[in-house]
Structure formats: structure tokens, C-alpha cells
């Protein structure tokens, strides 16, 4: 197969069966680093990650090992790293690193890709030289200017990312140790052995390279399902720092976590208005992060963060109020009426079911958001209207049973099976049709 044929396949590669996909990845790997191949790999990367394909080891891949956790998230559900490194930056950086280290030296590092007695030492030496090379390249890239060498404009994020890459490469052996302790990624909950590992490695770093501690902690956080979880553990960790340094590190991590929550809380504006469940899921996630962050910050009250978290809470409050609570009763009850309306009626009903489920989901966070009263009122109002519909349909001679049962189902989705069963029993015992 020609290269252009492979590239032309593009996102179709996401749908072909697994054995064929593996074959094509092998073929792509055998081809060189052509930009078209890189683009195709970028398209299929989510599937590569999902299948955990063991890809051909290359020096470029080895170079990325220490900082790959900070690459931008691929899937919507993947945790977003607290300090993102763009893949495009790494792609532009690698040829410069190769040139800086020199062809001869690079060739000498090749045995690091195969198993052997000298592998560990060679790999560590490789990362060390790469760290020096990236530091030199970073010095040449002035913030705010276009970097000819990298072919990218050096915005503050990219300048920071270059510095982070250099630091992470210089502490690569410790990062590898950390990755082994915090795996498989993403880690949903911090256990004792996880905390112990972070603490031991962190203490070593704070003695040898105190400036690397911040990015080390951010990388550890990026291996968790919810990075804010690390905040609560961090305060109790003894990383061998002075108390002022500890407070500074804590503040830095808090700042990054809060900024990330703020970003996520803005994302609901992109969600289609009809998908109320997506809104409810996002609200639940945000409240969990807010709770974890707020609990962690109990130790060091900071007015600015408090204020920012309060704003996020307000934003989630508005989101739930306008997207889930508002007019819930009218929409849900109207869908029962549209039951006989063919495919359009069915779509309306599915949307109403989605809305009803979202309403029930939000019951778990209503207290935190100060929406308990409003939610209870809306639930009661909707349940009352639906009960009336169910009574008319199931209790009287003229009603349609299907409408009655659908109304009961909606009550179940909103108020739970116990309430729905009770209403159903009442209707049935007062005159079953």
C-alpha cells in the first residue's frame, strides 16, 4: 500500500476492525516521520491510546516518556493535565534536540531502545543530554516572539512548557519511579502507597532539585482521575520543605486546580441545550471537584481562591437552574401529551426522559448549590401534574393506558421508584381499569 493511500484513509481508520488497524499502524510506523504520517497518527491517536498498542520504540518516544502525561487530553472524558504541553511543540522541538545533541551521540543512544544490561544507564544519560539541549533551545526562544527554529510563536504557555520539559527531563528517573507508583493511569483514588511514593520521591527532589518540585507535583496530579484529589493529600505530605515553601507550593497547585475548574465550568455553554443529562453530569463532576478543593484549602484560607471557587459555584448554580430546573415541568408533562404524535412525539418523549433523569441526578448536589428548595418545589409540581395525568388515564374509562404508564415512568425517573410505586398502587387500588 502506498503512503498516500494510507493517509487518504484518515479517520476511516477509527472504524476498521482491530486486526486491520494494528496492521496499518505497523505500516505507518515503518514509514518515516513525514508530516502526512504525523497528521494521520494524530487522527487515530485516541484509538491507539484505547488499544494500548505497543508501538515501535524510537528515541523520540523515549524522549517524551518523562513528560507525556502532560500532553493535551485526547478524549472528552480524559482528565485534563494541570500544566499542558502541546504535541505540536514537542514535534517541533524534537528535530532541534536531535541537532543539538548531534547525530553521532544520538546513534550511540540507540541501544537504549533494546533490552540489555546498559539500557538503564544509557536511557538516563540520554534524558540528561536532552535536558541540557532543551535548556539551550529554551534560552534562544524569547517569550512573545516568533521562534524561527521551532516555527511557532512563543506565547507564555509555550515558554513555560519548554522550561517544564527541560526540568522534567532532568529529573526523568524520579518521574519514571513516580509513574510506576501511580499506575495504571488514571488513578481514581489516592491510597497510602501512592502518597508514600509521592512523598519519598518528592523529599529526594526537594533536597537535590527544589525548583523541580512544582512540576513534579503537577505531573503526579495529571495521573489522577481528578487532579484536585492530590490537593487534599498534599497538605499532610512531608516533602522536607520549609513551611513557607510548602505553603507556596500548595498555593501554586491550588491556583492551577482552581483555574482548571473555572475552565470546566465555562464548558457547559458549548453543550447543546437539549442534552440536559450532559449538563447534570458536568454539574456533578464540578461539585465533586469543588468539594475536594474546598476541603483541601481548609488548612490555608485564601480569600482570592475562596472568591474564585464561590464564582464557580455560582456558575454551576446558574447552569443547573437554567438548564435543568427551569420549565422542567412544562417540557416533561407536554411530552406525555405528545405520545401519540409519531416519531416526533417519540423524540420529544426521549428528550423529556433525559430531562427527568437530569432533574433526579441534580438532587444529589442541590444542597451544595443552595437549590434544595427550588428542586423540591419543581419535583413536587411536576410529580403532581404527572400524577393527575396518570389518574385520568389509568383511573377513568376514557384514558389511554400507555399514557398513564408513561406518566408513572416519568414520576419514577424524577422522584424514584418508591414514590412511583406508591402512586401506582394508590391509583390501582382506587379503581383499576
Amino acid at each position: 500500500m502506498e503512503m498516500r493511500d494510507l493517509v487518504a484513509l484518515g479517520d476511516k481508520l477509527l472504524d476498521i476492525d482491530e486486526p486491520k488497524f494494528r496492521q496499518i499502524v505497523d505500516l505507518l510506523e515503518q514509514m518515516n516521520d513525514h508530516p502526512d504520517i504525523q497528521r494521520t497518527i494524530a487522527v487515530i491517536r485516541p484509538r491507539l491510546v484505547e488499544l494500548r498498542l505497543h508501538r515501535r520504540p524510537t528515541l523520540k518516544r523515549l524522549f517524551c516518556d518523562p513528560f507525556e502525561d502532560l500532553f493535551e487530553a485526547l478524549g472528552k472524558a480524559d482528565p485534563v493535565p494541570l500544566s499542558v504541553i502541546e504535541r505540536s511543540l514537542m514535534n517541533s522541538l524534537w528535530p532541534l534536540v536531535e541537532a543539538e545533541v548531534g547525530k553521532e551521540r544520538m546513534r550511540a543512544f540507540r541501544p537504549a531502545l533494546q533490552a540489555g544490561p546498559e539500557r538503564k544507564a544509557l536511557t538516563e544519560a540520554f534524558w540528561g543530554e536532552c535536558a541540557a539541549a532543551v535548556t539551550t533551545i529554551a534560552q534562544g526562544a524569547v517569550a512573545g516572539h516568533f521562534s524561527e527554529a521551532l516555527d511557532l510563536r512563543m506565547n507564555p504557555n509555550r515558554t513555560r512548557a519548554l522550561a517544564d520539559i527541560a526540568v522534567l527531563l532532568s529529573i526523568a528517573p524520579e518521574i519514571m519511579e513516580l509513574k510506576a507508583a501511580l499506575s495504571p493511569k488514571p488513578v481514581p483514588k489516592l491510597h497510602g502507597d501512592h502518597i508514600e511514593a509521592i512523598q519519598t520521591i518528592g523529599r529526594r527532589l526537594s533536597r537535590a532539585r527544589p525548583e523541580s518540585l512544582r512540576i513534579f507535583i503537577l505531573l503526579a496530579a495529571s495521573r489522577l482521575t481528578d487532579p484536585s484529589v492530590l490537593l487534599s493529600g498534599l497538605w499532610d505530605m512531608d516533602l522536607g520543605q520549609k513551611s513557607t515553601d510548602r505553603a507556596t507550593l500548595f498555593m501554586q497547585l491550588s491556583g492551577t486546580v482552581v483555574a482548571q475548574i473555572e475552565d470546566r465550568s465555562r464548558s457547559w455553554q458549548d453543550t447543546p441545550a437539549s442534552d440536559r443529562m450532559a449538563v447534570a453530569d458536568l454539574a456533578l463532576d464540578l461539585v465533586a471537584s469543588l468539594d475536594a478543593t474546598r476541603a483541601a484549602m481548609e488548612h490555608s484560607r485564601n480569600k482570592e481562591f475562596d472568591q474564585r471557587l464561590k464564582q464557580v459555584r455560582n456558575s454551576v448554580h446558574t447552569m443547573v437552574k437554567t438548564q435543568v430546573l427551569q420549565d422542567a415541568d412544562a417540557g416533561i408533562v407536554a411530552a406525555i401529551g405528545a405520545l401519540e404524535g409519531g416519531s416526533e412525539g417519540r423524540a420529544q418523549l426521549a428528550q423529556a426522559e433525559n430531562h427527568a433523569r437530569a432533574l433526579r441526578k441534580c438532587a444529589t448536589i442541590a444542597d451544595t448549590l443552595g437549590l434544595r428548595g427550588e428542586l423540591r418545589e419543581m419535583t413536587q409540581k411536576t410529580t403532581a401534574s404527572l400524577t393527575e395525568k396518570a389518574q385520568q388515564a389509568l383511573g377513568g374509562p376514557a384514558g389511554s393506558t400507555r399514557t398513564g404508564y408513561t406518566a408513572i415512568r416519568m414520576i419514577e425517573l424524577i422522584a424514584g421508584p418508591a414514590e412511583a410505586n406508591k402512586i401506582m398502587d394508590d391509583i390501582m387500588s382506587s379503581g383499576r381499569r
Binding site: E18, E50, L51, R52, R346, L349, A350, E353, R357, R360, K361, A363, T364, T401, R402, Y405, T406, I408, R409, E412, L413, G416, P417, A418, A420, N421, M424
Partner: protein, 367 residues
């Protein structure tokens, strides 16, 4: 509570028939009759450890909070005469039609009932044709004028009279035998049928499940892989048994004249084979759909789906010659770490809305 090995049922009746509940913890649990002819339900261990809980049918709503749909299904099964897979299927379709499990389930139940109706007509016609063919009469004329037209019905009656004469039977007796056979064959259909009947389709899908699960488990590093391999193996044995039973049917149908002449001897055999086939394939439809759904999702969901399937997989009873299946399952539980699914929302302790929704979606795909 009994361990899987202790529980290992000897017969299909002892294993019970799978019930398509939408309450996650009860989904695909099995119902059977106890020694006093009372219904009881077998709930696999809630912590996904070893063993099953045996709960009297009447106490089920008290022991587990159920969805409204499940309460209705529970009532319908209690009122039904038996608890064979066919009795349970009837109740399940009736409950689904009400709309308590969502619009998808209504559409699927209506499609299934309409398919049953079509198959009933088709098998009746095919059996009449087979009867005529068996005694050397031509049936193409009926097809030309149409079986349901008055002329077609008259033609059929005349030809059937002739067929009855040649078989030395009363016409009423011949009609009776064909009607009874049609009832027994409705879900199986004939091999030559233009549209395979339900159980033949299910067997074909089970073969697909076995292949897909084998592929998935091969070279898979996941901890669920050996469990997936076991599920594929159970599917393989079930397919082999089902293939044998269908082979017996096809053989009997191939010598249709003998079947009609030796009706009294053949009837119990056909009835037994028909019931055995529905028991063999009972509970697989949901698992096949669950797996097909998981295949479109990520690896983690696939691992969880394999654990879900394993929890309720229809192991063959001892009498089917596969006594070691329960022992193997017990061994797997001991030797492999398995993910435990919480069947309730950990925040509220109430029914997990997402899980119920997933079961309902799968229900909506069954037809």
C-alpha cells in the same frame, strides 16, 4: 446462600429461567419453582463473590427496591401459569409494551410480537405444504391464489382432505397434528424458511458472540480476559448442544410423512426438543446485546461488561453433561481479581440512574 458449585443445578428447571428485570441488581436473575411449587428467585451474590441468594418470589419487592416496570413484571410472572422461558418471555413482552421501561422497549416488544405473528402464519403454511408434499400432492396452486383468500382456503381444504385420506387419518386429526406441530415449531421454524425464526437467529447470534468474545480474550492483557475466555467457552458448549437439537428437528422434518404417521411416538420427542432448545438459549439474548453494546465502548467498559456477563451467564446444568462448568466458574472467582460494580448510586444509596438507563437501552434493542 449457596456457593456456585453447591448450587450447580442438575436440570434446566432447577437452573431457572432468566427474567429481564431493569433493576440492575436483579437484571437476568433466574426464577424457578421450589419443592412446594412456589416461585423463588436466584440472585447472584451482591458483592460479586461466590454463591447465590435464594429469595421467595413474594418477598422480592421487600428485599430489593425495584423499578415500577419490574413490579409489574413481578406481578405478571406471579399470575402466569408456569415459569418456563416461554412463559417468562410472554410476561416480559407484556410488561415492556406498557411503556414502563421506555419507548425503545415498547417498540422492541411490539416488533417481537409482530414477528411472532408472522412466524406463526409462515410455519402453518410451510407445514401444510410439507404435509401435501409428503403424500405427493402439489401445493403451488395454493400459493398462486393466496392462502388467505376464500379460494385458497377452499383449495387447501380439498388438498388436505386428500392428504388425510392417503395418510389414513381423519382430516380433523391431520389439522390437529399440524396445528400442534406449528405451535411447537413456532420459535424454531424450518431450515428452509425465508426468514429464520427467533431461536435459529439467536443461535446464529450466539455463534457471533462466541467468536467475538474469543477474539477479545485472545492476546488481551486485561484481568477480565480469562473470564471472557470462560464466557466464550460456555457459549461454545451451548451452541454445540443447540446445533444438535436443531439438527434433530431438521431430520424429523425431512421425513415428514413418518412424523405424521408415527405422531404419538414422535410428538413427545418434538415437544421435549422444542422445550430443551428454548431452555438452552434462555438468557443469552440480553448478554449478546450487552456485549455488542460494550464493543462500541472503551476497554474499561468492556472489562465491566465481561464481569456483568459472567455474573449471570447461563451455565449448562449437570444433566447436559457439562458438570464442570460450575466448578470452573467457582475456580475463576477464586483465582482472578474481579471488579465489583456498585448497583446503587454511592452518593444516595438509590438506584443508579445510568445503569437502569443502560439496561433499558439494551432492552430496546431486543426484538
Amino acid at each position: 446462600m449457596r456457593s456456585l458449585t453447591n448450587f450447580a443445578p442438575s436440570t434446566f428447571e432447577e437452573r431457572g429461567a432468566a427474567v429481564a428485570f431493569t433493576t440492575p441488581v436483579l437484571a437476568q436473575t433466574r426464577v424457578r419453582k421450589d419443592s412446594r411449587d412456589q416461585l423463588e428467585v436466584l440472585v447472584p451474590n451482591l458483592s460479586e463473590g461466590r454463591g447465590v441468594y435464594v429469595v421467595p418470589w413474594k418477598s422480592l419487592p421487600l428485599a430489593f427496591p425495584m423499578t415500577v416496570h419490574d413490579r409489574m413484571l413481578h406481578d405478571l410472572i406471579a399470575k402466569a401459569e408456569g415459569c418456563s422461558p416461554d412463559d417468562i418471555r410472554k410476561a416480559v413482552l407484556e410488561a415492556a409494551r406498557c411503556g414502563l421501561a421506555g419507548g425503545g422497549a415498547v417498540a422492541a416488544a411490539e416488533a417481537a410480537l409482530s414477528d411472532d405473528e408472522d412466524q406463526r402464519l409462515l410455519i402453518n403454511y410451510q407445514l401444510i405444504v410439507e404435509a401435501l408434499k409428503a403424500v405427493g400432492l402439489e401445493s403451488t396452486e395454493i400459493l398462486k391464489v393466496g392462502l388467505t383468500s376464500a379460494e385458497g382456503q377452499k383449495l387447501t381444504r380439498d388438498l388436505m382432505m386428500k392428504a388425510a385420506q392417503r395418510l389414513a387419518l381423519e382430516p380433523k386429526e391431520l389439522y390437529g397434528r399440524i396445528a400442534e406441530l406449528a405451535l411447537m415449531m413456532e420459535a424454531i421454524g424450518l431450515a428452509s424458511s425465508p426468514k429464520p425464526a427467533r431461536l435459529r437467529r439467536l443461535m446464529r447470534d450466539l455463534q457471533g458472540f462466541r467468536d467475538s468474545m474469543t477474539d477479545w480474550a485472545t492476546d488481551n492483557v486485561s484481568e477480565a480476559a480469562p473470564i471472557g475466555g470462560f464466557c466464550a467457552e460456555v457459549a461454545e458448549h451451548t451452541v454445540n448442544h443447540a446445533r444438535n437439537v436443531i439438527g434433530q428437528f431438521d431430520q424429523a422434518m425431512a421425513s415428514f410423512e413418518v412424523l405424521l404417521r408415527q405422531w404419538e411416538t414422535k410428538r413427545p420427542q418434538i415437544r421435549k426438543a422444542s422445550s430443551r432448545l428454548s431452555w438452552l438459549l434462555d438468557g443469552w439474548e440480553y448478554l449478546i446485546l450487552l456485549w455488542n453494546d460494550a464493543l462500541t465502548q472503551d476497554r474499561y467498559s468492556q472489562d465491566m461488561a465481561v464481569h456483568d456477563i459472567f455474573r449471570v451467564i447461563p451455565l449448562l446444568p449437570k444433566d447436559e453433561g457439562r458438570a464442570e462448568q460450575s466448578a470452573l466458574a467457582d475456580k475463576l472467582i477464586n483465582s482472578h481479581k474481579r471488579s465489583v460494580r456498585a448497583y446503587v448510586d454511592w452518593r444516595s444509596g438509590q438506584l443508579d440512574v445510568d445503569l437502569v438507563m443502560r439496561i433499558e437501552t439494551i432492552k430496546g434493542r431486543a426484538a
